[in-house]
Symmetry: C2
Subunit: 356 residues, 2 copies
């Protein structure tokens, strides 16, 4: 049976990327060795990581004011590493509290300095994006999570700020064109729109990294990673290679404009279907709905398990909501074909008609 | 041309492991999804990580006093994470200074507390293992690097100590039976004897982890990783799967006793050949020679490039010495077949006869 993969991450990858990655496991680029067996300082791998960096800059339209790093760990490691570098005791950083992941970032930051909550959607269980930020005059940076994977909300407009802007883009990176120059620091775990779990993309304004005065353990110091060109120690070679393949795929398919067009098409179909079927409810503010993760519930809780079973029986993976939220979540990352959303919507309609 | 892969890491993997990993990229375990596309909290992946943990304990003959973790980052991340957890300002940890990696561990520890150097081989350029340790009465732990990848030395006897013993086994893990119960903490980057780059094995005595009093940022806290069963955030799924395949391979081939037998056979052949050919010299103390990485030089520096070219021309990869050391390094990890060492030795003999 054909599988439709709505996983929230690790999630679906383009079929061509998987085929190319598998081929490179057998023989990387015709050199007679597996991609898993080559040294990270060989010309072979240096070409991989350098091309990947270049494609990131190309997609983001960034110049040499920025450095691209591929670091170990997930975005959660960055929750800690960012304040470890940019926040000292007695200093303040501003954070938007819009969901579980932003919240975890706040918790990690608390170990290094003061956190000023610039905006919170906690009052309504993170079902919307608060538009009015309260920013302190002086803070080291403002941190936002551009897409809230768990709650299903997304910043469709990036808030203006006088502070260096830091963005966790783990679940919507490379899904839309944007003025990336407004950010001082962008990061994203790879396992949604950019490849396989095990590497995190960091895009950092060099000037900001160079301004760090804090004593930071070398392996966590961004400035040292920049100097070492992202090769301070053995990097996650295979995960970086899969990221390169995915970046090439995005560009070949038409870049960020095309990714956004597809995302809107998929999300529009899904939300229209959900809205039209009274067995589903969603409390997410319409204008803040995520194009990546649609979060909704069965009006009658008793129908959840039967619906989930129908999904599984029809080859649909990953439709169950996040463990602390419940309900349903349909993730529609770049690699998810429109067809999968169409099949899901058809199934939802059939199920609704049967249970009305 | 057949390739002989003497890379120091990322390095050669068993052919069956690569074939199985490539098959799982197409379709993991017949479920119709790639290993890159499955969620880390699915039953599928939980079975992978749980089996991998079990096999580590089986190979090390450890009971439930120990926890096995598969963490993001390389061993270098552990250089920082260990003192971040176990060393506070004003406290002391003891370190053996036996090579470049142990030295990096010392540097990272210095950011968290005092370092007492218990033994150093710096006086002779790290060409031997110092047997007499000067241990302070009170220190939080003693750190050793069991095999020095760059310098080509290895602790063939683990030094006795009253302190909790922490070992970086990145380059000789699972290459020999050992009383693993003497350690409170073992870690190893996967990319030599245990799989692909992008994951680090940590084996930790639960009692010791539970004793941590320090406030540690959650994502870096071992105790929290233990509580979350190594799934605090999205782990490096594919790298853990390759580790599982490699662990299965080690066991199927006969376990640590067999790995040691093979290592001795390969290393004996190599060192005997080097010792018998006057064009090569090595300054490593004979009794401290590494079974994993043989480091040696050409007596006449002018012959180095011609010899390296001969190696490359004959399909030999990774024979060049570490960038700060120079000369030659032949790495003979578990997956390297005896045949590769035989071919290298034959080539070395032919080259020597031509240039004598």
């Amino acid at each position: 049976m054909k599988k439709h993969n709505f996983n929230s991450g690790p999630s679906i990858l383009p079929a061509t990327v998987i085929a190319q990655a598998a081929a490179a496991l057998h023989d990387f680029d015709g050199i007679g060795l597996s991609i898993l067996e080559i040294g990270h300082r060989t010309d072979w791998f240096v070409a991989v990581i350098e091309e990947a960096k270049l494609l990131v800059k190309q997609l983001m339209q960034l110049n040499d004011d920025y450095e691209v790093l591929f670091l170990h760990g997930g975005a959660t490691t960055q929750f800690m590493q960012i304040p470890m570098n940019f926040l000292a005791p007695g200093e303040t950083a501003a954070y938007c509290d819009n969901g579980i992941w932003g919240n975890k970032a706040i918790q990690e930051a608390g170990y290094f300095g003061n956190v000023h909550v610039a905006a919170s959607s906690k009052d309504k269980n993170h079902t919307y994006i608060p538009k009015n930020l309260s920013l302190p005059e002086k803070a080291n940076y403002l941190h936002i999570t551009t897409n809230n994977t768990v709650e299903g909300t997304q910043w469709h407009e990036i808030p203006p700020t006088h502070l260096p802007l830091v963005a966790d883009m783990s679940s919507d990176i490379f899904s839309r064109p944007m003025d990336f120059k407004q950010f001082s620091f962008i990061y994203a775990g790879a396992q949604k729109n950019m490849g396989a779990a095990g590497v995190t993309l960091v895009v950092i304004k060099k000037e900001w990294a160079a301004s760090i005065q804090k004593q930071v353990p070398p392996i966590m110091c961004y400035q040292k990673h920049i100097e070492a060109k992202s090769l301070m120690n053995t990097p996650p070679v295979f995960a970086i290679y899969v990221a390169l393949l995915t970046l090439r795929w995005i560009i070949a398919e038409g870049g960020l404009t095309e990714m956004e067009r597809r995302s809107r098409q998929k999300a529009d179909l899904l939300y229209q279907t959900i809205d039209s079927l009274p067995i589903f409810i969603t409390s997410i503010a319409k204008e803040d709905r995520s194009l990546m993760n649609a979060v909704f519930f069965m009006k009658e809780e008793a129908l959840l398990q039967p619906f989930l079973k129908t999904c599984t029986d029809n080859g649909m993976i990953g439709v169950k909501g996040y463990r602390t939220v419940g309900g349903l979540r349909v993730s529609m990352y770049n690699a998810l074909p429109l067809e999968s959303v169409q099949v899901f919507c058809q199934l939802a309609q059939n199920f609704a008609h049967k249970h009305c």
